[in-house]
Assembly symmetry: C2
Homo-oligomer: 135 residues x 2
């Protein structure tokens, strides 16, 4: 099922590679407004969580918990938001976003809140290095 | 851990009881704009998915998949949105929302999109009966 896996072009354009875990490719959104990971299960054709088999579902929630806990520890955020929407990008992907009062969308959701604010290249490199160590 | 469980007052005010599953209380949002379930793990003090232990995590993803599949089958929605935000209501809860092009928030998220539109009482009863059969 991993054979032929590739990120949806929209995800590829908006993110940078962090790691490949057992099930998911882990990428970071290039949006400096929020520390933001996306987990993309490497399963062709999956669009809903129930498209994953039972074993992959268990791995999915372990990876959601791992990414959430790591991002919370790294950023000391007040809240982690988790979301699997897919209204625009059908490839199954799970957002893990560190949130704090006063951030650009608080207390609303981050999705659909205007244009991403790209990191400076050096800041993006530093963020990804921190993620690789923290997750 | 179930002892003393009670829904957060905001969730209690906005929803109606559907079922108690192994881990989660299943409630339906009283918002006729979207078919919308919320799963609330009956674990006092949990605010993040990683607050659940490994067994509860496995049950959580099974219940997310079950609710998502049931709601998709019942409504024939184009997409199921899943979200655990908690910026306003700290009690851990997972939204499962049936989405279609042209709905009140499409393609954006449903959260933070104005006031809920309550069902008429008979329509709410009918929706809950359908859910009990479909899930």
């Amino acid at each position: 099922m991993t054979a032929g896996f590739s990120l949806h072009p929209r995800l590829a354009a908006d993110t940078i590679f962090v790691a490949d875990w057992v099930l998911s490719r882990v990428v970071a959104m290039n949006d400096a407004r929020y520390p933001w990971l996306i987990l993309v299960p490497r399963r062709d054709g999956a669009t809903e969580i129930f498209d994953l088999d039972a074993e992959d579902c268990r791995t999915m929630i372990e990876e959601i918990a791992r990414a959430s806990h790591g991002l919370k520890t790294l950023t000391a955020a007040v809240k982690i938001n988790v979301g699997a929407l897919g209204n625009l990008v059908p490839q199954l992907h799970v957002h893990i976003v560190a949130r704090n009062p006063g951030d650009a969308a608080w207390p609303g959701p981050v999705w659909g809140q205007g244009m991403a604010q790209a990191y400076r290249p050096d800041a993006l490199d530093a963020f990804v290095r921190q993620l690789v160590n923290a997750l």
